[in-house]
Symmetry: D2
Subunit: 333 residues, 4 copies
């Protein structure tokens, strides 16, 4: 039997996941959708033969086996809590919650429920390049890790993008990634401000984050959200006996007018399209099989939110900020 999924939020990312579940992946179908914009929800539902339901109704509706949350970030925690209350697997796009406190409530609810139901949408863990990088690290190819150098560059961001978004929406991907890559927590954060780009309006763009991990690894992360030239994600780990870096995934190389050129992705869709496919395929397969989700869980979501909050404070104050994290509940050990 295919998995019946209810999707909350039919904005860009929601519609993208609906397309994926409907026309790309096997084993699932979208049977209900919800959006603050009823009319939009209606149109999306009609195209795929789904029903429109208010978010909380959708979660409890018996026809919905599992929930996919793609609404505005501020609403995530509430919906996740409702899904836990309904005992249903829930895939929540990042962030799990916009505050540590809300994240903590989810940890408590899920712990009380006694089984992990929540997965958070940090798709880099499913990217072929990050997976290959982690495989080399875990194999010991480069020895114990000492540092990681990262860059996260967007060609452009919308005019409403705020300095906090540069952390909580952009850098949060690296925050989750380094926790996963090294299997350890981030203990302190600094945010440095280089000369701002004239293309960045009022934004302090670029930024340089310095993340201190519990195992001593130091990660520096360049965040550029108006890099103009393309979407560019880099990562190199320095180990005791070598380095490993994300590779160049260039389908074609052109020699012309005195230059050898290879294309750079235009945006995150192009760069991470396959990762989103793998992420959702693995989630659907696991849920259908009745298993416990293997991707980023509620603890990962809570940790990312908590580190983000520390980084936002570091950005505002210019100081090194230590991350104040709750004890890890037994369910997530």
């Amino acid at each position: 039997m295919s998995l019946s999924i209810g999707v909350i939020g039919t904005g860009m990312i929601g519609r993208e996941h609906i397309r994926r579940l409907t026309t790309v992946l096997s084993g699932a179908r979208v049977t209900a959708v919800s959006d603050v914009d009823d009319e939009l929800a209606g149109r999306v539902a009609a195209a795929i033969g789904a029903r429109v339901l208010p978010g909380t109704k959708l979660i409890t509706d018996p026809s919905v086996d599992a929930v996919l949350i793609c609404s505005w970030g501020g609403t995530h925690a509430e919906y996740v809590l409702a899904a836990i209350a309904a005992g249903k697997p829930v895939f929540c796009e990042k962030p799990l919650a916009t505050t540590s406190a809300a994240g903590l409530r989810i940890l408590e609810a899920e712990s009380a429920y006694g089984r992990r139901l929540v997965q958070v949408g940090y798709m880099r863990r499913y990217d072929v390049a990050y997976r290959a990088l982690k495989r080399e690290l875990d194999r010991g190819t480069i020895g114990a890790p000492l540092m990681m150098h990262c860059a996260h560059r967007n060609a452009h961001v919308p005019s409403f993008y705020t300095p906090d978004d540069m952390i909580a929406d952009t850098a949060v991907h690296e925050i989750d990634m380094v926790r996963w890559m090294f299997g350890t927590e981030i203990e302190a954060v600094r945010v440095l401000r280089p000369r701002p780009s004239s293309h960045a309006g009022e934004l302090p763009d670029p930024l340089l984050l310095i993340l201190e991990l519990a195992n001593g690894v130091l990660a520096d992360v360049e965040i550029s959200v108006n890099a103009q030239y393309g979407y560019d994600i880099r990562g190199e780990i320095l180990g005791e006996s070598g380095t490993a870096a994300l590779g160049e995934l260039s389908p074609v190389a052109v020699r012309r007018t005195g230059r050898l050129t290879t294309p750079i992705p235009a945006d995150w869709r192009e760069r991470f399209l396959a990762a989103y496919d793998v992420e959702l395929r693995e989630w659907v397969d696991t849920v259908r099989a009745g298993g416990v989700v293997t991707g980023p869980d509620a603890w990962d979501g809570y940790a990312a939110t908590t580190v983000s909050a520390a980084a936002v404070l570091a950005l505002r104050t210019g100081k090194r900020v230590e991350v104040a994290m709750a004890d890890r509940p037994r369910l997530y050990r």
Copy 2:
């Protein structure tokens, strides 16, 4: 409604396609299978809840919407003809036929039927790198094409591999690819014999094919089937104002013991996995939508077989062999 597919041939490639249709792609399910090995067919069928039917029965069975042929090459033509007779869309793994004459019969049968039902499994047309290469060519980035340099290297082949297989099973991929890339036919073939590898047993391995295209483009193709080091597919087009080449798709780069290293795929599965997914997804989507298949058609299959036969003759005689091709029937223009 999902597409009901009958699969003839449950060997390696058949089972791989069944896995793809069952657990990867949406929109199709395998409802019947067939194999010369009844017991194998029975096990495969049981695992996915399909029926076992003899090949020709499978094709005409009303529960089968479309047919996928993955049996031994010598049987392909007969099954394709049966599918045309049944008026059913048929995806035939390469080759379409093992002789030009058999291919011609398919062209005639399909022409008589009046609509294209046949697609042949030349998956390179769906590969991200080949598609990017063709896009650059078609955009005119490098000007009119003059030459193409190709290499097709397998790490190893089984001991039963014959010299003819080096053409008809290996080089045939480049034969189809250059026809598609340049939108023209191959008119003559030479096959040169470099010093044979000591890893190749009795095989004349490597070979160098020289393909002369109707538009004057010359393509040289190295065929190595015991290259030892990995599976490596290369292609570079020389145009009037530049060159375009298949890119390096390296997920990770490691620096260690005095060397920067990137991985090379082990085999064709690793290299073309995604291309097979795209190929079958596009076919399923097209067939479900009632459309005419857009991939390599029966004419392409006939042409590949006919050029292969010329290349086999060129290999045996050491001479330049002109390709004797039938006129292209109206259906394929």
Copy 3:
């Protein structure tokens, strides 16, 4: 007439320069040498037909047109001052001086003399890759610079290497390079300590330097002196509209056992051999032509030493240290 050069210091780098002047470059010959080890100096002199003189005598000797200082760093300033007093062009291996105060005395002496006689041996300015990088920056290819990411990795250092050496001997190359690259001064320095490598003994290795430039550019510099795998120098500049990075200079690419590999230099000699040749050739040509040296001058040497001192303090204290630099004398504007 060829230029008669006196070389002070016949250790490794001194002998290397003597070899260069004697057998590689045209236009100069070494006519006198000096070393604290008389016997070593004697052997070196005998091999090339030069005289042995005490350092200060060598400088004033009428047969010596120009002086090359390759002795122990602590002696540099004294010899440079003597050369200025003698009115002779002097090429001083880095550092110009081991303290800011000594550097300042050189600036004053040279200013009093009224003409620049001093060049300091920061050879990266002569490297083909750094020059290409600077050319792209200066052409505006990537827009105004915002950040620079650097890594400086040595495979190994001798057991007597100190934490201060990691700054004053290793990172000082990047300190000079960023000043030259961006044509501006470094105003503040931080030094962060990642997890130390188990190959590094007592050294805090690697380090991460954060350099704040007067124009707002922020440069992060990884310093690894026991990186094991080779000598690796990296640099990437983020500009407002793109990035430019040092290229890969790989003479050969090997595919073998599942890997594409390119060689990494073993040490700085291999990486910068050609840069040393160019550096000394340009210096000899300029001095022979009676011109004013165009390479790193005494002010550059003073600045590198002063920033190094600030970085050493930053390493010891863990704090951000502002660089206290003298006003730039008129001679160096």
Copy 4:
């Protein structure tokens, strides 16, 4: 004592070598020059304080220790013979002779003299990339060689360039290179004609040469003399267990407007400047030391000319042409 060199031919390459001997390399000076254009010879001589002498006088003049021949190719053999008669070391730019017969006379004259005096200017043997490639081959990194794929692309050639020049002036570099790389002779040649470039006027451009070596290795060589986009030299050897290729020597990598770009050399000067320096330095050092030249000798020059003649015939006739080579005289074994 520095080596006194007489240079015959003060055209572009002659002046370039004079510059090299005068301002780049140590150990030699140009004391006499000769040219069919007396006025040009006079100007060149005046700039460096050399005398002007007629070619044959220059060779016998007692003040000339060694001879460098950079005149028009048709005159080379005569001057080389004169140098042998005078018992003087002679460096002859390619070709050694324009006919096999003339080359043979040189072999006989040098054999009669009893000692090798002649070196021919095939500079690729001194290129860092070709040397690294040969080192990998000789180390056995890739096993016994089976094939080599080459491309030799010029952005443009002058309007007077002839089809024969495409062989004798351009492809001759690969002809010498494969002989040197594999330590064996070329036995037969084919020349194929792809679609000609519209930028090539009347020239059959590009060409594809197929070289058959005595050890069974097959080399295919693309010759493009109006490739427009730059000067591009490629080479990849297929061995029994891997491949080795000329690396990418890119000093800088720029990311801009959706593309990662690295520069391609504009012409042979840019690509092989360092190789010319090394070539002449090693020759000067060897001659000064009284040694026998180690670079391409008269036999290599004869062989290159003889294979070129076969390739020209192959180009004109469209046939496979076997190379008719004299027995190798004892002096060159």
